[in-house]
Amino acid sequence: MNPLNRRTFLADLGMGFTGLALGSLLQRDAHASAPGAWRPPDGQPHFAPKARSVIWLFMNGGVSHMESFDPKPMLTKYAGKTIAETPFADTQDPKKLALERLVVPDANGNQRNTLYPLQVGFRRHGQSGIEISDWFPHIAHHADKLAVVRSMWTTDSNHGAQTQFHSGRHQNDGDFPNLGAWVHYGLGSLNENLPQFISIGTREYWNKRDGHYLGPAHDAVPLRIDPANPLDFSRPERALSADEQRTGLGLIRRLNELRGIEYPGDPAVAARIAAYELAYRMQTSVPDIVDFSRESAETRALYGMDLPHCREFGTQLLAARRLVERGVRFIQIQHGGGGAGAWDAHSGLKANHEGLSRAVDQPIGGLLTDLDRRGLLDETLVVFATEFGRTPGSQGSDGRDHHIFGFSVWMAGGGLKRGVVHGSTDEIGFHASQDRHYVTDIHATILHQLGLDSRRLEIPGRKRLDIDHGRPIHAILA
């Protein structure tokens, strides 16, 4: 398809250009007419989608799986014993530990052999009876909506695992596009007034450029919860009245249109006209996203916005819901700044996780309630993820170290089964034992629900490996 065709095609569909970075597609024209030609994605799903948006909640630093969604009473039973003294000594079989890939030997990321008791109670919830720790009562309230995957593994035992969770590759392999960028690359826009891939919250530790070889146009657009300045360049630095601006925008449009006559068939002209319209609408619609004045007091309370400890995260999640309502594809929210991430509880795990779970639990519970009651949960995939779990053994007297061999994530909505647990770790939460999944299986599952086949999103000169694609976790698809 030549770029012209493609462009009209998209314009005809009302898909616009925001998510498509038209220019970068044009740049790759040369390939389009070669035999067996590569073609850029046309913005259409490859098959009928089950979900149209993703809210990606990422807990920086590493949440303890045992103290959240995969409770292990054996830790309490054998507390203080070394693993070798327990019936689970075989977890330390060097062959099973070999999947770890070090970046550099570090004081962290080591095996900790003295079992550390569970720091929190847990109970079964809902009809599904999913066990969830008492630190997450609001999420637990939605147990029957969750698909918990308790058998994750990764390979980077340091916080490069954050990048790895998003790109699918260990940092020793180099840099690769993140999941959100692939979604942005593959799918057209649902709302021309808003960027389609948005990042909220702190991510100081990991690579900030999501698009990598897909191009900067596929980087997440950072959104700030500040109506006065929510988006870069969304506020004029030179004071212009609304009238002056409108006159100017009208002139810009007409001048560009006149150039379109001079250069018929230059797709960049039309793309630019569209970009200015979108920019103008973005300038007005983005502040609206973070203007919560029309949300009811009840809704705000639902997200915990009236509680100091969850106000920040609650506000971000309410913004996420508003973005989803308006058709934004991928909202990536990172929780917990400082160092390598707030959840990185090498010491004082109890105080650390207790505080942080209080900050996120009610907002997430509120989000699930709110999405559900608005009928949005069916088409919105909410993901709760973290780069790795934490060691069954203690680090120091009261912490847990990084743990890559088994950990948990959960997803909800978006056409997944509800109230299911998939996969498991062994009895001390050491190794993912049943139905093991590498991080790209989460990617594949999400892409599948969005109607995308990652193998059809190839781009010239970039060979992706089997492991990059992952496999959808069919067992949790509804």
Partner: protein, 922 residues
């Protein structure tokens, strides 16, 4: 399920067509009217195909062979013949391999090929685990159906050609220039056009005429120096009656020092320039002061240093010119790959980007297994790694600055001469194959020259950099500056406090005196250490007296410092609250005791083993491969270098190397014309096919090599071609546009979205604000907003990027072989709202008004168009602008006067900076 009607996937097909009729009239206005018909036709074809599939049997050429090619050929084709089996023709499948025929036509169940792709047993299944995607049940069914139908295939089926015969791997020869005879001879400005016209001729594609002069002027300025012409230059050029005005302009711009700044940025993309970055304060990647390499690139381009020489210096200046700091800057190319924590990651990046950037091959794909498309066995990867295995990075002291945190020359050197390189089984760093170390080498496919490594003995200054004459001088000057500063401080303190006899001011004064004393002792120590080191170079271990002096001087310095500590403790004690006094008194006593010890040591005669701290002329950039919390042990700089990188540099720049020049001209073409001749600039291998204009690449490459690898020669050739000078419009060329819509045959210029650097620099230049200062340390992120320096000089790393530039597809420091040219709303917001544009618009307006104070609106609009967009406005454009100015003027309160006039004109400038053509190279 979805409540949104905007989701295209939920629209039934009829809605697509409905929307075709109803939407985007404006956009459609620009399109040749045949488009919708084409789409109908395509749809019809798809339908026919879908309907007929149910009846016809599977087609080998379109359904089976591509699948085999994707999943099987890399091991069972021309590249490799595992088990002696090839699957690239039906005949070869029937012939089979070690275990007999792979295919029995008509008998699926007797055809092992089917069995092997269909089995669920991962031990048996093809392609093997991790080597490729298994066949889906549908694909297996297709294969079965095709075999059952007798495995029909075209009779003239040919096996895959020999991979070694791929165009880019063959020796380069100078192709004969074709002799087309176009009706219009101006289509042929130079041989480039002959190649292109030759291809167009047979297809009856008429190239566009030359663009108007005003556009050509803007094109050349922005492309060659990255800035628009001044009004004086523009007017003069437009009026120049000489026939060779264009060529003379090209020469002038190529010799303009701003050309180096403009094109350095292109090469910095390709060579992965990055200022250092890390986490918080910890430096983890690239090198401090890497800007020296950037300045070397700018200067080298401005001197037209031959491309081959540039590459040799970047790879091995430390072996070729160990005593030449100017040239050593070039090795920033390798020093940039430094990574604090992990050697494998560092080496992998080096191999990948020497491969992609300089040679146009994806050797990185051979890290884990033999290359799947090109004839590079996995060992090639590790042989190249062995070339780089010994190298590390260090900072050398530069004249005038001994403190390497403040300045220093980042460069490479061979540090670990004997570290073996192991092949990693399946690329896994924890699975080295220790049966035999890999010897340094280059891809075995290329045999034009032997790869010979000769160790390089280094001059003493290379491994004892303190011998360089400026090193001691720098240390001495710094020490004497410190002393002067201490003296000034002491005098100030004395003037301020000398008359006061209270205890506290007296101690303060004593501290200032001690500081001066320390500075004096320091200067003495530096002087004696320098003397001792000098004697050591000449007389080896015999130099007892100078060593003794240096040791004593350092001991006395220690005494001085301790005296200062004592004074400072005393002051703290004086000022301390009552409850802190006890513990400070103890500190004071301890300091006094230590002072006594040190004084005693200083008085004693140094023993024969006593040593002093030598003055340093360079420092290793320490790594932490062994433990993330402490530096790996330092070692002396070796007296020889392995010579491996020199051997590689010679091999890469050997005129017989088939890749190097081809890659370079492809980059140049791409950056001048917006699209490369070979489609993937970092991969000229088989996966990218044979480019249709391979002969032109070869001719350009021959020109490069035969003209002493002069980049300037290539720039001149390209920009003086008719291909470069053509108009970019498709107006009046609907026919040609219909036959070659993608401009495969270069019948017109492709407009380029300008890089963020050019956009920003042009805005500053038009406002008269651009600073001309060249080179030096980068502008810190915090200072960028107010800076008027060229964007090239902005601090740019993985973590710190300028927001405006990033919005316009700033280079990714990890890899940027082509700059993206996206068009996204964030760019519009940046041009509408940024401080950069907000500040510049009124300044540009003021400048234009000052130029012609009495100008009418029309005259102002014309002038603004010329300066900002390079062209005159059309009548329609003039009218639009006039009306808007009027509207602005009316809307601005108070009533029309001079200031509202200025404001309205500033608004016009603001609008023109947002004009599509401002950010476009037409």
């Amino acid at each position: 399920m979805f409540h949104s009607a905007t989701n295209p996937s939920t629209l039934p097909p009829s809605r697509h067509i409905l929307s075709t009729a109803s939407r985007n009239d404006m956009a459609r206005a620009f399109l040749p009217c045949s488009r919708p018909a084409t789409r109908w036709l395509a749809l019809a074809i798809l339908l026919i195909a879908a309907l007929s599939r149910a009846h016809a049997s599977v087609d080998y050429s379109t359904q089976i062979r591509p699948l085999l090619q994707e999943r099987c050929f890399s091991c069972h084709g021309a590249l490799q013949q595992k088990s002696n089996l090839r699957l690239d023709t039906v005949e070869l499948m029937r012939r089979g391999g070690k275990s007999g025929p792979a295919l029995v036509p008509g008998k699926p169940d007797a055809s092992p090929i089917l069995e092997r792709v269909a089995t669920v047993d991962p031990e048996d299944r093809m392609p093997p685990e991790h080597e490729g995607q298994p066949y889906s049940p549908a694909q297996v069914a297709q294969l079965r159906e095709w075999i059952a139908a007798g495995a029909p295939a075209p009779s003239d089926e040919r096996p895959e050609p020999d991979p070694r015969d791929h165009w880019a791997f063959r020796p380069r020869t100078r192709p004969e220039v074709p002799r087309p005879s176009p009706p219009d001879p101006t289509r042929l400005c130079n041989p480039i056009d002959a190649f292109l016209e030759h291809a167009r001729e047979s297809r009856q594609l008429t190239p566009q005429p030359e663009a108007p002069r005003a556009l050509l002027i803007r094109r050349l300025y922005l492309d060659l120096i990255g800035l628009p012409p001044t009004e004086t230059e523009r007017t003069a050029l437009l009026a120049d009656p000489t026939p060779d005005w264009y060529e003379r302009l090209v020469d002038r711009l190529l010799e303009d020092p701003r050309h180096g700044e403009r094109w350095a940025r292109h090469w910095m993309d390709i060579w992965r320039y990055s200022d250092p970055w890390g986490l918080g304060e910890q430096h983890r990647n690239s090198q401090k002061h890497l800007w020296h390499w950037r300045d070397w690139i700018v200067e080298s381009l401005n001197r037209d240093l031959p491309y081959d020489e540039m590459l040799r210096l970047m790879l091995a200046a430390d072996e070729l010119h160990p005593n030449d700091p100017d040239r050593l800057r070039a090795t920033g190319f390798l020093a940039r790959n430094y990574f604090l924590f992990n050697r494998n990651q560092w080496m992998d990046e080096t191999i990948e980007h020497v491969g992609k950037g300089l040679l146009g091959i994806t050797l990185n794909c051979a890290k884990c297994h033999d290359h799947k498309y090109d004839p590079f066995p996995q060992t090639d990867y590790y042989r190249l790694r062995a070339v780089f295995e010994p190298y590390h990075a260090r900072l050398d002291v530069l004249p005038g600055e001994p403190d390497l945190d403040r300045d220093g020359l980042p460069r490479v050197y061979d540090r670990t001469l004997d570290t073996p390189t192991w092949r990693f089984v399946r690329g896994q760093e924890n699975a080295p194959d220790k049966s035999a170390p890999m010897s340094p080498g280059v891809p075995s496919l290329f045999t034009f020259a032997p790869f010979e490594v000769h160790p390089v003995p280094l001059p003493p200054e290379a491994w004892q950099p303190e011998r360089r004459p400026w090193v001691f001088e720098a240390h001495l000057r710094a020490a004497s500056n410190r002393m002067e500063a201490a003296r000034v401080r002491r005098n100030d303190t004395r003037a301020r406090l000398g008359a006061i006899t209270n205890a506290e001011p007296q101690v303060e004064l004593r501290i200032a005196e001690s500081q001066l004393a320390v500075a004096k002792l320091d200067l003495v120590a530096v002087t004696r250490r320098a003397a001792a080191q000098r004697e050591q170079w000449h007389e080896g271990a015999k130099t007892q007296s100078s060593r003794r002096d240096a040791v004593i001087a350092e001991r006395q310095l220690a005494v001085g410092r301790q005296q200062l500590t004592l004074d400072e403790t005393e002051l703290r004690l004086l000022r301390a609250a009552a409850d802190k006094k006890d513990s400070l008194s103890k500190d004071l006593a301890a300091a006094r005791a230590k002072l006594a010890d040190l004084t005693q040591t200083a008085a004693a005669e140094p023993g024969p083993d006593a040593t002093f701290t030598p003055l340093s002329g360079a420092a290793w950039t320490a790594t932490r491969f062994l433990d993330s919390t402490k530096d790996d042990p330092a070692s002396e700089f070796p007296r020889t270098s392995t010579g491996r990188r020199t051997a590689l540099a010679r091999w890469i720049t050997d005129p017989r190397n088939p890749l190097t020049a081809r890659v370079a001209v492809n980059h140049l073409w791409n950056r001048h014309l917006g699209a490369p001749l070979a489609p993937v600039v970092f991969d000229l291998g088989r996966k990218s096919g044979t480019p249709p204009r391979a002969a032109l690449i070869d001719w350009l490459a021959s020109e490069l090599v035969d003209h002493g690898w002069s980049l300037r020669h290539l720039h001149r050739l390209i920009v003086t071609s008719a291909a470069y000078r053509m108009d970019s419009t498709t107006r009046d060329a609907a026919d040609t546009a219909a036959r070659d819509p993608d401009n495969q045959f270069w019948w017109r210029r492709t407009p380029l979205r300008l890089e963020g650097q050019v956009v920003r620099d042009a805005i500053l230049a038009l406002a008269g604000d651009l600073e001309s200062q060249r080179g030096g340390p980068p502008v810190a992120p915090s200072a960028q907003e107010g800076s008027h320096r060229r964007s090239l000089y902005f601090y740019h790393s993985n973590n710190d990027r300028n927001l405006f530039l990033t919005t316009f597809d700033e280079a990714l420091v990890k890899e940027c072989y082509r700059r993206e040219q996206s068009i996204v709303p964030q760019q519009s917001l940046a041009l509408l709202n940024s401080r950069l544009v907000g500040d510049a618009a009124p300044r540009i307006a003021t400048r234009l008004i000052a130029q012609t104070p009495a100008a009418t609106d029309d005259a102002f609009i014309r002038q603004a168009f010329r300066e900002l967009l390079g062209t005159d406005p059309s009548e329609a454009e003039l009218t639009e602008c006039r009306q808007s100015i009027e509207q602005w003027r009316q809307g601005i309160t108070p009533a029309p006067n001079n200031s509202s006039n200025d404001r309205a004109r500033s608004n016009l400038i603001w609008a023109l900076l947002n004009h599509g053509d401002f950010v476009t190279l037409r």
